[in-house]
C-alpha cells in the first residue's frame, strides 16, 4: 500500500513538472490573445527564454536573476513581434511563424557554447514534517518555487481580466479595437504591453525547461511545447482556470501513458501524442457551432490589424 502511494505521489509530482511550462506559456498567450493579438511565436520565444535563462544561470549562479533574464529575453522577442505587427502592421500569423523560426535559430546560435554543460536544477521546497507527509507532502509541499508561481499567475491573471478596470480595458481592446480607440484608449500601447507580457511568460516557460524540468541546454529542447500551449488557449476557450485544467490534463495523459507502458500495458502512445491537437479541434468545432459561445469567449478582434486612422 505504501509502495502504491509513493508511486502515485511520484506520478503526480512528474505531472506537475510536465504541466508547469504549459501553464506559463499558455497563460501569457491568453493575455495577448485577449488583447486581440495572435502570436504564433510561442515556441521561438520559449527557446530564446530557455537559452538566455540558462546562460544567465551559468554566469551568475543565481536562479532568480536567470529567470528575470529569461523573461526579459522573451519580452524582447515579443517586442520585436509588436514592432512588426502593431507598428508596421504586418500579418500576425506570418510574423508569428517567422518569430518561431527566428527563435529556433537564434537560440541555437546563442546556445552553441552551452551544449553539454550541465547545471544544478532548481531546488525543491522542503519543509520539515509537511514535505515528508505521504502523497500530499511531495506533491503539495515539495515542488520548486516556479510551480507555486505558476498557480499564483493563473489566479492573478483570472482576477485581473475579470475584476479590474485595466483588465476590462484590455478585453475591450480585443473585442473591438475601434470602440476602445474611440473611447480614447491607446490600442497599440495596450497591445504592446499584452504582447510583451505574453513574451515574458513564454520566456519563463522556457527557463522552466532549461533550469528545472531538464536542467541543461539542448537545441530545440522545447520540442513542440509552444504549439501545445497555443492549442491549450483555444482548448480553454480563453479562460485562465481552464488553461490550468487543460495543462494538467495534457501533462497527466503524457505521464500516465509512460507509466502504463512501463507496467506492461499496451497503450497507443502515438495516438496520445496527438491528443492536445485533437482536443483543440474538437473545441474549435464545438464553439463554431454555437455562435453565442464564440461571442462570449473568443476575442472578436483576434489577429486583426488595427489602423488607428480608420
Amino acid at each position: 500500500m505504501m509502495g502504491m502511494i509513493d508511486t502515485l505521489a511520484a506520478i503526480l509530482v512528474t505531472v506537475v513538472t510536465a504541466a508547469t511550462p504549459l501553464v506559463f506559456a499558455a497563460t501569457g498567450e491568453l493575455v495577448n490573445e485577449k488583447a486581440g493579438v495572435l502570436n504564433l511565436g510561442v515556441e521561438g520565444m520559449m527557446l530564446v527564454g530557455a537559452v538566455s535563462g540558462f546562460a544567465a544561470a551559468i554566469a551568475t549562479g543565481n536562479p532568480v536573476i536567470a529567470i528575470f533574464v529569461a523573461m526579459l529575453a522573451g519580452a524582447l522577442m515579443a517586442f520585436l513581434f509588436g514592432v512588426l505587427t502593431l507598428s508596421l502592421m504586418a500579418n500576425q500569423v506570418a510574423t508569428g511563424l517567422a518569430l518561431t523560426m527566428f527563435g529556433v535559430g537564434l537560440s541555437a546560435l546563442i546556445g552553441q557554447d552551452y551544449v553539454g554543460t550541465p547545471i544544478k536544477g532548481l531546488a525543491k521546497l522542503s519543509i520539515p514534517v509537511l514535505t515528508d507527509l505521504p502523497l500530499i507532502g511531495p506533491v503539495i509541499f515539495g515542488q520548486d518555487f516556479l510551480v507555486y508561481l505558476s498557480l499564483v499567475l493563473v489566479a492573478a491573471v483570472a482576477w485581473f481580466l475579470k475584476s479590474t478596470r485595466a483588465g476590462l480595458i484590455l478585453r475591450a481592446t480585443g473585442e473591438s479595437h475601434d470602440a476602445a480607440h474611440a473611447l480614447g484608449y491607446s490600442v497599440i500601447g495596450i497591445r504592446y504591453l499584452a504582447v510583451m507580457f505574453g513574451g515574458a511568460m513564454s520566456g519563463l516557460a522556457g527557463a522552466y525547461l532549461s533550469l528545472a524540468y531538464t536542467p541543461m541546454w539542448a537545441e530545440n529542447m522545447s520540442a513542440g511545447r509552444g504549439w501545445i500551449a497555443l492549442a491549450l488557449v483555444v482548448f480553454a476557450t480563453w479562460k485562465p482556470g481552464r488553461v490550468l485544467v487543460g495543462a494538467y490534463l495534457f501533462g497527466g495523459v503524457t505521464i500516465l501513458q509512460l507509466h502504463a507502458q512501463g507496467a506492461g500495458f499496451a497503450v497507443p502512445s502515438q495516438a496520445l501524442s496527438m491528443l492536445p491537437y485533437l482536443a483543440t479541434i474538437v473545441v474549435l468545432v464545438a464553439i463554431s457551432r454555437d455562435s453565442t459561445r464564440i461571442r462570449l469567449n473568443a476575442p472578436a478582434c483576434i489577429g486583426k490589424v488595427f489602423h488607428p486612422e480608420t
Binding site: L97, M101, V104, L209, Y213, T214, A218, Q261
Partner: protein, 362 residues
C-alpha cells in the same frame, strides 16, 4: 562560388517548425560537394552530433577539395524529400541521409538524379546510386547488458525506446540476452516515447521507469536527459551515441559511441576517385564504427574485465550477441543452442526475447 559561412533559417508552415541551417565551406576549383540531412539539431549531443563530427572529419581530411553542407532538424516525411531534392539539385555529388525515415524520400529523389550518389543510414533499400550503411550498435548493447546485469540490485532495468522499428528492437533484445546471461533474474521494462529527441519526454520516461523500480536506465533516444534524471535519482544509466559522462558522472556506466568519421572519409574518397558503388555496409566494433566510452569507476574491476573480454570476443568473432539458445517471450525456443541469428532476421526483428516485459507495439 559562395565564399564564407552563413546560416539561414527556414521552416514548414504548420504545427511543427524546423530549424534549417546550411553552411558552405570555402571553395576552391571544382571541390566535391557533400551534403548531409540530419534528423535532429547538431547540438543534440547524441545521434546527429556524431554524424556532424563525421562531416567535420571529411573537411579535415580533404581540406579545399571538399565542400560540405548540412540541413538539421529535418522531420521524417514530406519535408525530407524537399530538403534532399534541394541538396541534389544544388550540385552535391554525395548526399548522406542520416535517419531511417528518410529511406523512401532518398530512393525517390535518387531516381531523378542518377549522377548524384546517395548514402542512407540504417535503411535497407538500395538502388544503383543509393547505398546503405549502419553500425552494429547492438554489439554495444551486449556490453551494456553485462554491466547492467552485474550492477542492478532491483533486477528491473528501464529501457527508453524511440520507435518500435527493427533497429531499436534488436538493441533491446541484444541487451536483454546479455543481461540475463549474467543475471537470469533481471527483467527489462520498455517505454516508447515516439520521438528520437524530446528531452522533456525522455526525462519523464526515465522518471516513470525509476518510479517503477528500475535502477539502470538504457535509452535509444538522443538527448542526455535520461542520464541527468538517473544522476538526480541515484541510479545508473547508459548513454547513447556520444560520451555523456559529464551529464551524470555518478550515473554514467558507459555510453555506446557512434563513430562515422572513417566511413564518411572513405565514401567521399570513393566519389572523388570515381570508384563509388552502391553497397550495404554494416560494421561493428571490429570495423571501428562504434566504441564504448570510459567505464564508471564504481564498476568493480572484475565486471569491467568481463565487459572488456566480451568486447574483444565480439571483435574477433568468437562471441555473437545473438548466440542461441534464444527464447521468445512465451518461452518458446526460436534459435537453437548451436545457431546464431542471421543478419536477415536481425534486420527485420519484430519480436522480443524472453525477459522483456510488455507487448511490442505493432
Amino acid at each position: 562560388m559562395i565564399q564564407g559561412v552563413f546560416k539561414t533559417l527556414g521552416a514548414t508552415v504548420g504545427a511543427a517548425a524546423l530549424g534549417f541551417a546550411v553552411t558552405l565551406g570555402a571553395a576552391s576549383a571544382e571541390p566535391t560537394k557533400v551534403g548531409f540531412v540530419y534528423v535532429g539539431p547538431i547540438g543534440d549531443h547524441g545521434w546527429t552530433y556524431r554524424h556532424d563530427k563525421g562531416r567535420l572529419a571529411i573537411e579535415e581530411a580533404f581540406g579545399d577539395k571538399v565542400e560540405t553542407s548540412f540541413v538539421e532538424s529535418v522531420p521524417e516525411g514530406a519535408d525530407a524529400e524537399r530538403v534532399i531534392r534541394k541538396l541534389a539539385s544544388s550540385g552535391h555529388d554525395l548526399i548522406f541521409t542520416t535517419s531511417f525515415g528518410y529511406m523512401n524520400p532518398t530512393v525517390k529523389v535518387a531516381k531523378q538524379f542518377p549522377n548524384v550518389k546517395f548514402e542512407h543510414a540504417t535503411g535497407y533499400k538500395r538502388t544503383k546510386n543509393v547505398g546503405t550503411y549502419a553500425a552494429r550498435f547492438y554489439e554495444g548493447r551486449t556490453i551494456a547488458g553485462i554491466l547492467a546485469g552485474r550492477m542492478t540490485k532491483s533486477n528491473v532495468i528501464g529501457y527508453i525506446g524511440s520507435f518500435p522499428i527493427p533497429e531499436v528492437v534488436r538493441g533491446i533484445n541484444a541487451f536483454t540476452l546479455a543481461l540475463r546471461k549474467v543475471n537470469p533474474e533481471a527483467e527489462v521494462k520498455v517505454v516508447w516515447v515516439n520521438s528520437w529527441y524530446d528531452p522533456g519526454k525522455e526525462g519523464d520516461a526515465a522518471k516513470a521507469l525509476i518510479d517503477q523500480g528500475a535502477d539502470v536506465i538504457l535509452q535509444h533516444t538522443d538527448s542526455p536527459a535520461p542520464l541527468q534524471v538517473a544522476q538526480e535519482r541515484g541510479v545508473f544509466a547508459v548513454g547513447q551515441a556520444s560520451d555523456m559522462t559529464h551529464f551524470g558522472p555518478k550515473a554514467h556506466l558507459t555510453s555506446i559511441v557512434d563513430i562515422w568519421d572513417g566511413y564518411y572519409i572513405a565514401k567521399t574518397k570513393a566519389v572523388m576517385e570515381g570508384t563509388w558503388s552502391s553497397e550495404d555496409t554494416w560494421g561493428g566494433l571490429n570495423a571501428g564504427m562504434l566504441s564504448m566510452a570510459t567505464y564508471n569507476e564504481a564498476i568493480p574491476a572484475e565486471v569491467v574485465a568481463e565487459a572488456e573480454a566480451a568486447r574483444v570476443a565480439i571483435e574477433d568473432g568468437s562471441l555473437h550477441p545473438f548466440q542461441g539458445p534464444i527464447m521468445d517471450q512465451d518461452g518458446k525456443e526460436v534459435v537453437a543452442a548451436d545457431a546464431v541469428v542471421e543478419d536477415g532476421v536481425l534486420l527485420s526483428m519484430d519480436w522480443y526475447v524472453q525477459g522483456v516485459q510488455g507487448k511490442l507495439p505493432k
